[in-house]
């Protein structure tokens, strides 16, 4: 049998350090506003139609912010074949890996993986450039950069300023998921989300019965790394009130 022509991208060509300064001006081309993405062809940035050729009238509903190498994003595509999911990643090489990975998956499995795409962007700065008010029904923040230094806590992707923006792009009843292997960061995220008047934590049994519960803990590359190191993983799900 002939070896397959098309191979999935190899991670070794896309490695990049895990930290990025979310405040500085990276050379990111972002849309001026969400309307721009609804056009057929984007101006300085690919439109939704260019990212998802088969999107039709559907809207992006799920967002994985800081999607890393895309493991969870790919599993979202399989769990929710009817929903459109976007992964955002600030690191150039890592986001390029996910793009190449999805492109290859679409070729290997015709008709599948049409509902996921990856963008290189800084979601902390430009979230509302991509999504209309109340557009999203699920937001994922999986293994975010803990920014251990206290002076850099402002850089954490879950912080009081940004929670209001997340509440703005989330629908009422929409869900916000956080997963981390860092206890300190977990406590920080849970306390900030709990204190924010727009969010309420799901009950323990509701969290456990979420269809994504196990995938959240296991499908991303970061989750598997923690698994290999036998570290603990913490999860919390909050509802937009």
């Amino acid at each position: 049998m002939e070896a397959p022509e098309i191979r999935l991208p190899q991670k070794r060509f896309y490695r990049q350090r895990a930290h990025s300064n979310p405040i500085s001006d990276h050379s990111i081309e972002y849309p001026i506003n969400p309307d721009e993405l609804d056009q057929d062809i984007g101006t300085n940035h690919p439109s939704w139609k260019e990212l998802y050729p088969e999107i039709g009238d559907k809207k992006v509903e799920f967002g994985d912010f800081g999607c890393g190498y895309g493991g969870f994003l790919i599993s979202l595509s399989e769990t929710y074949p009817d929903k459109i999911s976007i992964g955002m990643e600030i690191r150039v090489k890592v986001s390029d890996y996910v793009k190449d990975r999805i492109e290859t998956l679409r070729i290997i499995h015709p008709g599948k993986y049409q509902n996921v795409a990856c963008l290189r962007s800084n979601s902390m700065k430009y979230m509302v450039n991509y999504f209309h008010k109340a557009q999203l029904s699920k937001m994922f923040f999986l293994f975010p950069d803990p920014h251990f230094k206290k002076s850099k806590h402002k850089w954490r992707i879950i912080n009081p300023s940004l929670l209001s923006e997340y509440a703005y792009v989330l629908k009422k009843e929409g869900l916000l998921y956080v997963v981390t292997d860092v206890q300190d960061l977990y406590d920080w995220m849970v306390s900030h989300l709990s204190a924010h008047p727009s969010f309420e934590r799901l009950k323990d049994d509701e969290e456990k019965s979420d269809i994504l519960h196990d995938k959240l803990l296991n499908s991303s590359e970061e989750a598997q790394k923690v698994e290999r190191n036998q570290g603990s993983k913490f999860l919390a799900i909050f509802k937009r009130l």
Binding site: D25, P34, V92, D96, K150, K154, S164, E165, A167, H192
Partner: protein, 390 residues
């Protein structure tokens, strides 16, 4: 009580004095000395959560060793309270009384302020800082010395903050091209973002309860529906507008005064048509030689500017007279400092709230994207070549 609405309030040197210039009767003008010895209330500001955080908890102390100067000044609508921030990160609140000004409090804040603004009722003040956070300070009789409280934040430098006419919203604009409409007093709720500018949004103002206008480093003025975020109108100028002052004459007409990056002042008459379009008509303009400051008093616009006369810097104030759709710039008096009996060792100056040249995005420095793509292309070509050889 005498109405201080007759006075133009400004600082001729942003360091030692605040001047109260009576436009009606210049003889009644006076200056007050800034009380740099007034004790600072070092009580920590209330943050969103009292989680241990070095930066939030760091001992705030006014620095003794730096040369003190003022960054921002604000006056409330009834002109009986004046607030200013200084570079030692303290917020002064003063009460204007009969020909005297009494310092009420001096409260600390965390990071360099970029804008301060009183609420419409004058009972609170908003302080926006260069890292994007907004704090609320009470200014009423019972709470004028209470520590500030964090209310919301941007992830970018805030350049302007205004309160809606009906007090239901706070409008903030930032360096990342954004205009944010925040609910008041439910500050955690964002009503809308108005997005369309392509550079920093340096100034904005509400025209009525459903529209705002904004100006930006992209050289445009835009009209927005503040509840839908829809851009209703825009015009591109041949200059870079920086600051905007607005005086409504009716609910749909009024005067706009715009300062530009090259120190000129443009005066426009505007007409809001059906709440969804704007008609602008240039009434007059004047080129100045350096920074200018705009003020509105009793419906009139005044321009403070500094000119060098025989090697000495002097402060002048022009009144903008509008007659038959023409704006004329008339000097109030030859030399304002003589009227004010101004004597000081510090030189006269006008401090701008931000340095415009630093606000344009210099992304070239960080352009690692092209490099990466080029390298990747080379790698793929290389692989293809190898395969061919095999």
């Amino acid at each position: 009580m005498e109405s201080y609405k007759e006075y133009l309030v400004f600082s001729p040197d942003y360091q030692t004095k605040i001047a109260f210039l009576s436009v009606e009767n210049v003889q009644k003008s006076f200056t007050i000395d800034i009380d740099w010895d007034f004790p600072v209330n070092n009580e920590k500001m209330k943050m969103f959560l009292d989680i241990a955080n070095d930066e939030e908890n760091k001992q705030i102390q006014s620095k003794e060793d730096i040369e003190k100067s003022i960054n921002n000044i604000a006056i409330n609508e009834s002109n009986n309270l004046i607030a200013f921030t200084s570079n030692d990160k303290s917020l002064f609140l003063c009460k204007i009384e009969e020909s005297s000004v009494k310092t009420l409090s001096r409260r600390c804040f965390l990071r360099t302020s970029s804008c301060i603004r009183f609420s419409n009722c004058g009972k609170k003040l908003y302080l926006a800082d260069k890292t994007g956070d907004v704090f609320e300070y009470m200014t009423d009789e019972n709470n004028f010395n209470t520590a500030g409280k964090w209310v919301f934040g941007h992830i970018s430098q805030i350049l302007d903050l205004k309160v809606s006419i009906d007090s239901k919203y706070i409008f903030t604009s930032d360096r990342d091209e954004k205009i944010r409409v925040t609910n008041s007093p439910n500050y955690h709720e964002i009503e809308m973002f108005c997005l369309g500018h392509k550079e920093f949004v340096s100034s904005l103002t509400p025209l009525n309860n459903s529209t705002i206008i904004s100006i930006s480093g992209d050289g445009t003025l835009r009209l927005w529906n503040l509840l839908s975020g829809n851009q209703l109108y825009f015009t591109k100028f041949s200059f870079t507008p920086i600051l905007l002052k607005h005086y409504p004459q009716t609910s749909s007409e009024g005067i706009l005064c715009i300062s530009t990056s090259d120190f000129s002042i443009k005066v426009y008459e505007y007409q809001l048509i059906d709440n969804n379009a704007l008609k602008l008509h240039l009434l007059g303009e004047k080129q100045y030689s350096s920074d200018v400051e705009m003020a509105i008093l009793k419906g009139n616009f005044y321009i403070e500017h500094i000119e060098e006369v025989d090697g000495v810097k002097k402060v002048f104030i022009d009144k903008i007279q509008i007659e038959n759709k023409v704006a004329a710039f008339e000097a109030l008096k030859e030399d304002i400092l003589t009227i004010l009996n101004y004597t000081s060792n510090s030189s006269v100056k006008i401090v701008k709230p931000f340095d415009v040249s630093l606000l344009f995005k210099n992304t070239g420095k960080f352009d690692n994207l092209k490099q990466y793509i080029d390298r990747k292309k080379a790698r793929i070509e290389n692989q293809a070549m190898k395969k061919k050889k095999e």
